[in-house]
């Protein structure tokens, strides 16, 4: 129960209940006030008219007073005609009520009245006028009726208020309880996730309300975290696996050589083979580290304006002999007048190289690879298309994951890191890489470099924010000044 009292939802519910009670009170008060005022004014008007009528004709005043009294069945009408000395000449009022002004208007006063022959003290509404002969006529009415109406209204208010308070309180409790139960379920699920069960998801109702949307978002976040953790662990597994293969081979080769080799030439051959395998594992480790460095490092030191047309042309040219050896034709289509983009020239060359390398590798002899640079609606796009087997739609998201290799790729040399590197470099630049439908029928990788967005300012800030050693000499960072 203390938990319930402490919970925000309960307090909100209580607040709502109090607020609705206040609203009801205000409404009732207004109705009460209006009703009472209306009744009082009605009565005052009657009294004013009656007293004026009675005073209008002094000869008939006594009769009118008697008639006023007589028209009343419930002993609520009072009246009186009093001589100049205050003696009663007619009516059922004991005397002119004290303090009653003779102005013909209705006032609430206390007076002695005769009801059924008994003299009583009562609260009345009375109007009095002086007659020309000095006598006074008083026309009055009991206040009970108005008081009763007021009392009834107040009672109704009291009666209505209790259920309102009870119902809104109950409603508040129900709401608070429901919210609490949902939160409790969410809390339990979160607690399970915190204990390490990443597969647990928050309960989502069918209502699509804020709770459901929040839970849905948290669930998507958990999906992403689970996916990333899965990737990390599969990367770890893949690294271990891919390292073990050449190391196992190396070990076996060393062992066999130690037992069987007889000549220096044989030893040398084994060492060369061993070095090649070690180079292979080192290259893989380096690639993994590079991807991590590019992904997490926000490395902008090499950023400058880069002519993509030159990069694309030179990357294609670099692969030309390999493509030719494989009887794959390599075409370059660069649109003119492409403005330079901000980026790291070396990394962008590496990106295009990796894509062209893959395209050439997976395109069978006689096929074509086309490297293009074109303007699109959203910016400049680097396209690498081929007539190879393409990538099945189901695998399109996975190819950018580290170490992912399609079924076909497993039969070709490579470490499955090329596209991971491409994705990391693109991300660093704020570019997007996607796989499109190729008019050539094979794979089509598109690197989109959005134009005119804030990426440039970001690297400029990153650059400015980092103190760099002041150079004594101004070397060309491309290493062109080496003697």
């Amino acid at each position: 129960m203390t938990d319930l009292l402490r919970s925000t939802t309960f307090r909100w519910a209580l607040g709502i209940a109090i607020w609705s009670v206040l609203l009801v009170l205000a409404t009732y008060s207004f109705v009460y006030w209006q009703t009472a005022a209306y009744l009082r004014e009605e009565l005052a008007e009657t009294l004013r008219l009656e007293v004026r009528a009675a005073a209008a004709d002094p000869a008939a005043t006594a009769m009118r007073v008697e008639t006023w009294i007589a028209t009343d069945l419930h002993a609520t009408h009072f009246g009186g005609l009093f001589g100049p000395e205050g003696e009663r000449r007619s009516g059922n009022l004991g005397a002119v009520p004290d303090g009653l002004a003779r102005d013909g208007d209705a006032h609430r006063v206390s007076a002695n009245v005769d009801i059924a022959g008994r003299a009583l003290r009562d609260e009345i509404w009375a109007a009095a006028l002086a007659l020309p002969d000095g006598s006074t006529v008083v026309i009055a009415h009991d206040t009970d009726e108005i008081d009763r109406v007021q009392a009834t209204t107040l009672r109704a208010l009291g009666l209505g208020l209790m259920p309102t308070l009870a119902l809104s309180g109950l409603g508040g409790l129900l709401l608070a309880g429901r919210a609490r139960r949902r939160l409790a379920a969410t809390e339990a699920a979160v607690a399970q996730v915190m204990r390490g069960d990443l597969r647990k998801r928050l309960p989502v109702g069918g209502g699509n309300d804020e709770f459901d949307r929040l839970a849905g978002n948290v669930n998507r976040m958990l999906d992403e975290i689970e996916r990333l953790l899965g990737e990390v662990s599969s990367v770890g597994d893949a690294v271990a696996h891919d390292l073990r293969t050449p190391l196992t081979r190396l070990r076996a080769r060393l062992e066999r050589t130690r037992e069987q080799a007889n000549s220096v030439a044989e030893f040398r051959e084994a060492v060369d083979q061993g070095l090649a395998w070690i180079d292979q594992t080192l290259a893989m480790v380096t690639a993994v580290l590079r991807i991590g460095e590019i992904e997490h490092g926000r490395r902008f030191a090499g950023f400058a304006l880069v002519d993509l047309a030159e990069v694309v042309r030179e990357a294609a040219e670099f692969f030309e002999p390999v493509a030719e050896d494989k009887a794959v034709s390599l075409d370059v289509a660069v649109e003119g007048g492409i403005p330079p983009v901000e980026g790291d020239r070396d990394l962008l060359f590496e990106t295009v190289s990796n894509l062209v390398d893959n395209a050439v590798k997976f395109t069978p002899p006689g096929g074509r690879v086309r490297v293009g640079l074109a303007r699109e609606e959203k910016g400049v796009v680097i396209l690498v298309e081929d007539t190879g087997p393409g990538i099945p739609p189901a695998e399109r998201d996975q190819v950018f994951q580290r170490f992912y290799r399609t079924e076909r790729a497993r039969q070709t040399p490579g470490n499955g890191l090329g596209l991971g590197l491409v994705a990391a470099i693109a991300k660093l630049h704020g570019f997007t890489v996607d796989l499109r439908a190729s008019p050539y029928g094979g794979a089509c990788f598109a690197v989109l470099c959005p134009q005119g967005e804030a990426k440039g300012r970001e690297w400029a800030r990153g650059f400015a924010g980092r103190p760099l050693p002041t150079p004594d000499v101004a070397p060309d960072p491309r290493g062109g000044t080496r003697p």
Binding site: D279, F318, V322, D346, S353, R478, G479
Partner: protein
């Protein structure tokens, strides 16, 4: 033979580098801390300095900056285990002439030291001759003996780089950096394919080889006479 100063705190790495470079006929001085290295570099004359990025006492780049500020222009090669993308640029800004990421291949280090030590053959020369090979950089033509060579612009650049360093071993990475002018390590067979194509053009039927493969290291262009 050159006098080289190695500033490296890891004794094992220093021993390997020392052994390799001594084997190639160089004289090596070794300092294991930043201040010690700075003192050695100041007090003695060296042909080149190899220094680690991370050193106890005084950071490698600070050592280098101090040297440059003091007017010391000895060629320097920076070694670093740190990520190469930004580090390379920092190293060069601090006054390094070259940069090599750890782990490195000893032959690569040796080749880069060679490149730092040897000034390329007369850089203003536009007609280069090595043995029977001759190229004209302005005309963009090449000849082997009496035979005209049909060279692509990139092949001409490749030949120019090799011909300015006859007999010197150049690694694939160095070639790629200098001829293609991009920094990263492409797959080794790509450079080999380019070299293979160039060799086919240079070495027609029966002609002696000009470009030689140096196993596990790279290439060298040697005169054929």
């Amino acid at each position: 033979m050159a006098r080289l100063l190695l500033i490296e705190d890891d004794a094992e790495t220093a021993r390997e580098v020392h052994g390799d470079l001594c084997g190639r006929g160089h004289v090596i001085g070794w300092a294991s801390t930043g201040p010690e290295g700075a003192a050695c570099a100041r007090d003695e004359a060296w042909d080149a300095i190899i220094l680690d990025r991370m050193l106890p006492g005084l950071d490698g780049l600070s050592v280098l900056q101090d040297l440059r500020r003091a007017g010391n222009r000895t060629p320097a090669l920076v070694l670093s285990t740190l990520g190469d993308v930004d580090e390379r640029i920092r190293g060069l800004r601090a006054g390094g002439d070259d940069y090599l990421a750890k782990p490195f291949v000893l032959a690569e280090l040796a080749a880069r030291i060679e490149a730092l030590l040897r000034r390329p053959v007369d850089t203003r020369e536009t007609i280069l001759r090595v043995g029977s090979l001759e190229i004209d950089l302005i005309g963009g033509t090449g000849r082997r003996g009496a035979r005209d060579l049909d060279l692509l612009p990139r092949e001409l650049k490749l030949l120019e780089y090799l011909m300015r360093r006859p007999g010197q071993v150049v690694t694939r990475t160095l070639l790629f950096e200098e001829v293609w002018n991009y920094r990263f390590t492409p797959k080794s067979n790509l450079i080999d394919v380019h070299l293979g194509r160039l060799r086919r053009k240079l070495e027609a039927e029966g002609e002696p080889s000009l470009i030689h493969n140096v196993r596990g290291i790279g290439f060298t262009l040697a005169p054929d006479d």
